[in-house]
């Protein structure tokens, strides 16, 4: 092999190694910067207290509470729908059926639609159409549901996280051994009985993974809730589905771009970002652990 070739080879390998290292390095830099910037402020009090003094002091409890409430409502909507769609795709239809392929295409499209579009959809469909109709039918035009609130924000978010649930449940269902299924059918169980007693129990950890991944995604997204329910500041926690709510990601956005004192509240912003990052990482980490267990089980 000629010397020129050797040099080109070294350049190719070197450049590709450099790219991989550069990506890892920037991840580490982001983590380190945010941890250093936020660690002093990260106290128990910060997590459990209300914001004070026009959000320049105090904690972020309402934002954490609002985010948690939103992801719970979101999961209640997204997980059953996602699981059932995954069941249909794996058990009730063949790969080749046009209908199934259309559903798959729709799911992939849902996964790539920009999150701000979900926000627009939430506004146009949930708030203006569904909410507006509810108001005029049940409340005689009194404005209650036809405005941004936590229910509409959560439902908007559930559409965004639906593909996440579908994909991971589908993966889990495929790891349920076919023999178990066949054995159940051979013993005379019907298809629905088999699904209820064999498939769903066998893929419960996949459903759990999907839920956790969806929560992690939903907790971090801000664009869909910008105008479907997130609020800048609320003195009280949301108590009803028609209340607005505070949200961690939205809080970071507002504090860092529109706060009265951006520089003064810097530690709060970093600490809030740290909380959000820890939350999403923790959730992702749990999901990875469960997923690893599923894969091990599938091999054995």
């Amino acid at each position: 092999m000629s010397r020129r070739n050797n040099i080109t080879g070294a350049v190719v390998v070197g450049a590709s190694a450099f790219s991989a290292i550069a990506i890892i390095a920037i991840i580490i830099v982001i983590l380190v910067v945010i941890v250093i910037g936020g660690k002093d402020r990260m106290t128990w009090e910060f997590i459990t207290a209300f914001p004070e003094n026009g959000m320049t002091e105090g904690g972020i409890f309402p934002a954490i509470y609002g985010t948690a409430l939103m992801v719970i409502i979101m999961s209640v909507a997204a997980v059953p729908f996602g699981t059932i769609t995954a069941l249909y795709l794996t058990e009730y239809t063949s790969e080749k059926s046009i209908f199934a392929q259309t559903i798959r295409f729709a799911v992939r499209t849902l996964a790539t639609v920009p999150s701000i579009i979900f926000g627009l959809f939430g506004l146009g469909f949930f708030i203006k159409f569904v909410g507006g109709e509810m108001d005029s039918v049940f409340l005689g035009g009194q404005l209650k549901w036809g405005q941004p609130n936590i229910l509409w924000a959560s439902l908007t978010m559930s559409l965004l996280t639906l593909p996440v649930v579908i994909v991971s449940v589908e993966e889990a269902i495929r790891t349920v051994p076919r023999e178990l299924l066949e054995a159940s059918l051979a013993l005379g169980a019907t298809k629905w009985q088999t699904i209820r007693k064999v498939v769903i129990p066998g893929s419960i950890s996949g459903i759990l993974t999907g839920t956790i991944l969806a929560i992690s995604r939903g907790a971090g997204e801000v664009a869909p809730i910008l105008f479907t329910g997130a609020a800048y500041y609320l003195a009280t926690l949301p108590t009803s589905l028609s209340d607005q709510f505070m949200n961690l990601g939205y809080h970071i956005y507002i504090m860092s771009t529109q706060s009265a004192d951006v520089d003064g509240t810097m530690p709060i912003q970093f600490a809030t970002t740290l909380v959000l990052l820890l939350l999403t990482f923790l959730l992702n980490f749990i999901a990875i652990l469960i997923r690893a267990r599923i894969r091990r089980k599938a091999i054995v």
């Binding site: 070739n5 080879g9 190719v12 590709s16 190694a17 790219s19 991989a20 990506i23 991840i27 945010i34 910037g37 059932i84 249909y88 259309t102 729709a106 799911v107 992939r108 499209t109 790539t112 639609v113 920009p114 999150s115 701000i116 579009i117 979900f118 926000g119 627009l120 959809f121 146009g124 469909f125 108001d135 005029s136 005689g140 404005l143 405005q147 559409l159 639906l162 298809k191 629905w192 971090g220 801000v222 664009a223 910008l226 105008f227 800048y232 500041y233 607005q244 990601g249 939205y250 970071i252 956005y253 860092s256 771009t257 529109q258 810097m266 912003q269 970002t273 959000l276 990052l277 990482f281």
Partner: protein, 367 residues
């Protein structure tokens, strides 16, 4: 001994209500994802219709318009006031860039129409006394940001994918892949925050340009969001190339890097292409990073160190403050429709490349 005879009757599946119902219900739920896509199309487009139809109509007051469209009993004013109170967003905050903002005139304004010519104008001043809804600066800004982001993201992500699929030892690969997937788990508001607080300052000191938040900073931050997508899909495409390709190349005396660069990578081009398309789609629709790190001024210029305002960021910044049903509201939905159509086509195209070309090529059906 009595022998069983199987008749057509006895072999027929017995009708069970629970089976029938469960199958129908599950199919119905599965339809939902298709329905959602259709609904998104319908409802995002629906809000833009008044923009174009109001031209033929005699101009009426806005209150009437709102009523006609939504059937909600009027009072759009208190609604809007309340929204402003709740959001508490200062209209003249830094975020609004050089926008002229005058709520008074806006409220007193008369019915306004939008023409195609108006939409192709080069000024975006939606809330001045003489509102102009020119989308050109927003499109230029979006394209500029996308170009900058892809210029950074595509080479880095593709090279990293090449490294982890071809050169890295197995133990290293098992670290790189999850680490980069971790980056995909970063909420975009966190990347935007990092770009706004840290990257903008560092880059300004390095390059010494004037505007702190500009297309360059925004583009690099967007690249961080696009890298995991491009990396993952490229990596998948590279590892999907059959081992026989590699073995044949190595057997012919090619070295490892020659095989990777001249055999594996070319074979995976449809996958790489799809990865870049999806990366573009991600950057195009990214809202939070654009809102936080690009400066949000709708300028038309080729200078990467000037602020830009993207399509998605415009929706995100202005939708919370518009009067429901007025022209500005419709134009924002029109922008949303554009974004949606664009990313939808990109996704369809990427699908075609992965499903159609990559798979066929791997199976040896096309050269």
């Amino acid at each position: 001994m009595k022998s069983y005879t199987f008749t057509k009757e006895s072999l027929r599946k017995k009708f069970r209500l629970s089976e029938f119902l469960s199958e129908k219900i599950i199919t119905g739920f599965a339809l939902l994802s298709i329905t959602i896509i259709i609904l998104i199309f319908v409802f995002v487009f629906r809000e833009t219709i008044p923009l174009f139809t109001s031209k033929e109509r005699p101009t009426g007051s806005r209150e009437e318009l709102v009523q006609e469209q939504y059937g909600v009993v009027p009072e759009p004013r208190p609604d809007q006031l309340q929204r402003q109170e709740v959001y508490g967003i200062e209209p003249d905050s830094a975020l609004m860039g050089n926008r002229e903002y005058s709520t008074e005139e806006h409220a007193a304004g008369q019915e306004r129409r939008v023409t195609v010519k108006g939409l192709l104008g080069d000024e975006w001043y939606p809330v001045s006394s003489n509102p102009r809804y020119g989308l050109i600066p927003l499109m230029v800004g979006t394209i500029k940001i996308t170009l900058i982001a892809m210029l950074f993201a595509a080479p880095i992500a593709i090279l990293a994918a090449l490294f982890s699929s071809a050169f890295a030892p197995t133990w290293l690969r098992e670290w790189i892949k999850p680490a980069i997937e971790l980056l995909a788990g970063f909420p975009s508001v966190v990347i935007g925050f990092f770009a706004l607080m840290v990257m903008a300052t560092v880059l300004q000191e390095l390059f010494g340009y004037e505007t702190r938040l500009n297309a360059f900073v925004g583009g690099i931050a967007m690249a961080l969001a696009a890298i995991p997508i491009i990396y993952t899909i490229t990596e998948d495409a590279l590892t999907a190339i059959p081992g026989t390709y590699k073995e044949a190349s190595l057997a012919l005396g090619a070295s490892k890097w020659q095989t990777a660069l001249f055999v594996t990578l070319p074979a995976a081009t449809p996958g790489v292409f799809a990865a870049i398309l999806l990366g573009i789609g991600r950057v195009f629709g990214e809202t939070m990073i654009a809102l936080m790190a690009t400066g949000n001024a709708g300028l038309i210029s080729a200078n990467p160190f000037e602020s830009v305002r993207t399509l998605a960021a415009t929706i995100g910044a202005e939708m919370a403050e518009v009067v429901f049903g007025d022209t500005h509201y419709g134009v924002l939905f029109l922008i949303g429709s554009l974004l949606f159509v664009f990313t939808f086509s990109l996704n369809a195209l990427a699908e075609f490349y992965i499903k159609g070309r990559l798979m066929k090529r791997i199976q040896g059906k096309i050269a």
